[in-house]
Amino acid sequence: MTQLPAKQSSNQSTNQSAATRSSQDLHLRGIVKEFPGSTGVVRAVDSVDLDIEAGEFLTLLGPSGCGKTTMLRMIAGFEDPTSGSIFLGDQNIGALPANRRPMAMVFQNYALFPHLSVAGNVSYGLKIQKRSKPEIAESVEMALMTMNLNGLADRDPHQLSGGQQQRVALARAMVMKPDVLLFDEPLSNLDAKLRVHMRNEIRDLQQRMGITSIYVTHDQEEAMALSDRIVVMNKGRVEQVGTPGELYLTPSTVFVADFLGTANFLDVRVESFGGDWAKVSVFGETKEVRAHPDAQSSAQRVLMVRPEALTVAAVDEATANATVLSASYLGARAELRLESQEGELIAVTSDPEPDQMPRAGDPVLVSFDGARTYLLPN
């Protein structure tokens, strides 16, 4: 089991926000969720343990069907775990119905009440709590102002744009001042530009309010932009937990390396091991690379090389170790597909010149910086 240098990145923001409100830690222990399927019982979530710190922004990331949404719905109380417990602080909230958990959820389709105005939507939860009228009015106004919804209080949800509906959904959840905010792929119905904009807003707001947040998405870029820590899930299990940087640079499995960003996997011969590094022979030379602690004991290993770690130089045929298959100009960067003795490679170069792009068949020399690669057990 890997020793994770977890949480140092999240501590700073946590400490700041702890002063503003008294959030509580969330602990999941041995969570299992089984659904009856057509071919027997399906395990959607398989023995998951997680600790979420107060004020932390944690993202559950994974492909569809990996169990991330089920996890979120169990935390919210919409599903009961088949076994396992959920603690908020030191209180077991497993027996609390969804409406009595101090959490608020932002739904994928916003789930605005179509028969209520914007103000009616935002004040809904406060009315249920039987707050006084002036207090409700004040909270709603504050929330609408925070979300840049001034002047829209009397509109019906269907009169709003997608981004505005999303903001109302956020305001409706925020106004409850929940201990935990839950997000179920809230940005997936927005177009690409708006998605980036809203994700910055969500991040700013969460930092300002310091509310513990759990966010579900399948978009790795979104996850990296938003999160203090990311939980990568696959087939109901947790593959790895870590900060975006840890997951990108030192993934502990091939799945994680592949799911976050693009990765080249090279079959390499390992010459020797030394703790967290190894000597490998690749492209006909011996290099020192960083290694996962489990790599030594594993029967098979593979070297992960990120596309931007590859250096590609135009050379004559005699010195070349690869040829270009295709080259795509993408503005800020260029993406090259190369054929080498180690298999097909993807390389990325930054700030390319559009009229000096390599052509298919060009001989090139590929090399990489050993510090930017990682040897993984396979």
Partner: protein
């Protein structure tokens, strides 16, 4: 591969999750409608079976098919069902085809006329057809000199098709309007002509609609009582035989046997119809419909249009006859204007029936609405394995022929129900009971209205994404509060429209009521039967007019209150949520 995170906090033990308690208010709330259905539906049905097993009745059942007359009655019933099913679907498709595929003048008017028969009281069509095409018919013999006898299978088929096709028409229209025009464009793009498209794309996609419509009409036709009584002549069917056995011969045993003969095919076809229509429609497969519908061009558009216009003319003529008949002495014989019939309706016996009917229907309808809301919410959102059973139970009220249900009520509620010698249910059907039998009639209205409100409630709820209710829960609302503050407001318009059809049905229903009326509780439809039987067509027409006006006024009021959209189901108000694709047929259908 998978790896656990950080260290376990020692004090937090892993324990099995405690099952959360559902609120008791809800359990009770769910129990009430289900028990109403058990008492008002399953129990009476059960009594029919018990009665048939009686020592006296059992031999009659075992010898039933050895008698030629019985075999013939059963055959007649099935024959009628099949013919009405077939021609009804043809007419319904023709109208839907004209609406969606043809660019012809006056489509809107054709649509409205085609819907007219939905609110028509029983007898209106049959009696008008007798006046127009009977032995001394105004059109057939007086105008054209034809001496064809309308009484019997052909007349019955005509009248039943005209009365029941609109529901199937509405279903098919819905399906055809939802048909993605891109499918037609794709077929044309691949080289298909307009008839090839119709034959290879449009018609195959509508097959479930045809099948479901046929079965629906089959059940309606074999269950109908009013028309066979008036127009059957020597052509006896099960329902009219049962009626005569009970009211003419006071033979409850034979009545029970005939009911059994009727309920078995009716319920099996009803079940089959539900299976077909509950299957997800293939009409909308993926994506948004795109493109605009293309109309049929060339000469081919005229034949269906002409037939459609002809049928509409017939419907209008029939309704004109009803109105004219209400204000003439004897239409076709003595066409003198008179207010006698109106006077008869609005004073004396007629007005009693009018107010009794209205009062009972107005009491039963809102209760049916409330029960329907709770039931549909349970069916769509709350129930697990028992969902199918509750759904079936709540729709059964219209699956069982009215005649059968009426006889079953008579068998069950005429005498007190005793369990181990203790009276658990006092008698409440019949003139000598509390409120002179109006309780049984009210319960009947209720049972027969619940399906319409459940159907529309279920339709509306399926369009509301569950996350809307989860959002409410997540904001701290209990299930009960969510139901009151979110669910009811969202499904109310659809429900009111379902209810208005339920009300119309209560006002115009005959077959289950005719067994339950008492001297002190009169119901309009059974009064009409009396008038028609006595040959006083004028009074019958006047009653029909009053019923039509009642129903029209109520439907109009509801349209006014909940807005235009309500009668076409609520679409717009749930707009912020992405629509869940719901099975296409049905919603308008089973009313």
């Amino acid at each position: 591969m998978a790896q656990r995170t950080s260290v376990l906090v020692d004090s937090l033990e892993v324990v099995a999750p405690t099952k959360r308690k559902r609120s008791w208010g809800l359990r009770l709330g769910g129990l009430v409608p289900v028990s109403v259905l058990l008492v008002g539906l399953l129990f009476p049905l059960f009594r029919i079976f018990v009665h048939v097993l009686d020592d006296e009745t059992w031999p009659k059942l075992t010898g039933f098919f050895s008698q030629e007359v019985n075999r013939q009655t059963v055959f007649h019933t099935m024959e009628l069902g099949v013919l009405v099913g077939f021609f009804g679907v043809v007419v319904a498709f023709l109208f839907a085809y004209v609406q969606t595929q043809l660019d012809v003048p006056g489509k809107r008017i054709l649509h409205l006329i085609a819907l007219l028969p939905i609110v028509s009281p029983p007898f209106a069509v049959a009696t008008a057809v007798i006046v127009l095409f009977g032995r001394n018919g105004m059109l057939s013999s007086q105008l054209l000199g034809i001496t064809h006898d309308i009484y019997g299978l052909d007349g019955l088929t005509l009248v039943l098709v005209l009365s029941f096709f609109p529901v199937v028409y509405m279903n098919l229209l819905g399906m055809m309007q939802r048909l993605d025009p891109a499918l037609v464009e794709a077929a044309k793009n691949l080289g298909a002509g307009q008839f090839t498209v119709l034959r290879t794309v449009t018609l195959p996609l509508l097959v479930p609609g045809f099948a479901s419509g046929f079965l629906l009409l089959f059940v309606e036709a074999i269950a109908d009582l009013a028309n066979p009584l008036v127009l059957g002549g020597n052509y006896t069917v099960l329902s009219s035989r049962a009626y005569i056995a009970i009211t003419g011969e006071y033979d409850l045993g034979t009545g029970a046997i005939l009911s059994l003969m009727l309920v078995v095919p009716a319920l099996s076809v009803f079940l089959l119809q539900r299976v077909i229509s509950n299957r997800k429609s293939v009409v909308t497969v993926t994506g948004k419909p795109s493109g605009s519908p293309q109309y049929l061009t060339g000469w081919a558009k005229w034949p269906p249009y002409v037939v459609g216009v002809a049928i509409c003319t017939l419907i209008v003529t029939i309704y004109a006859t009803v109105i004219a008949g209400a204000f003439t002495r004897v239409l076709g014989v003595n066409n003198e204007f008179t207010l006698d019939h109106a006077r008869y309706i609005f004073s004396g016996v007629g007005s009693e029936a009018m107010f009794d009917t209205l009062r009972l229907a107005l009491i039963a309808t809102p209760i049916a609405g409330l029960l329907g809301m709770v039931l549909s919410w349970m069916i769509v959102r709350k129930l697990g394995r028992s969902r199918g059973a509750v759904d079936f139970l709540s729709m059964m009220g219209i699956g069982i022929p009215g005649t059968v249900l009426g006889i079953a009520f008579l068998l069950s509620f005429r005498n007190p129900t005793k369990l181990f010698g203790v009276t658990v249910l006092p008698a409440f059907a019949g003139g000598s009971t509390f409120l002179s039998g109006s309780l049984a009639i009210g319960l009947m209205f209720l049972i027969r209205s619940v399906p319409a409100s459940v159907r529309s409630g279920v339709g509306a709820l399926q369009q509301i994404h569950p996350s809307i209710e989860e959002a409410s829960t997540s904001l701290g609302a209990t299930d009960t509060v969510t139901f009151r503050r979110v669910t009811i407001p969202l499904i109310r318009p659809a429900l009111i429209s379902g209810l208005s059809f339920g009300f119309a049905r209560s006002m115009t229903t005959l077959s289950p009521i005719v067994f339950l009326v008492t001297p002190d509780t009169k119901i309009m439809t059974s009064q009409i039967l009396g008038e028609v039987d006595g040959g006083r067509f004028g009074n019958a027409f006047a009653f029909c007019c009053v019923l039509i006006v009642f129903v029209a006024v109520v439907l109009g009021l509801i349209r006014l209150i909940v807005g235009d959209g309500a009668l076409r189901r609520t679409k717009k108000r749930t707009s912020p949520t992405p629509k869940k694709l719901v099975p296409t047929p049905q919603t308008a259908g089973q009313i």
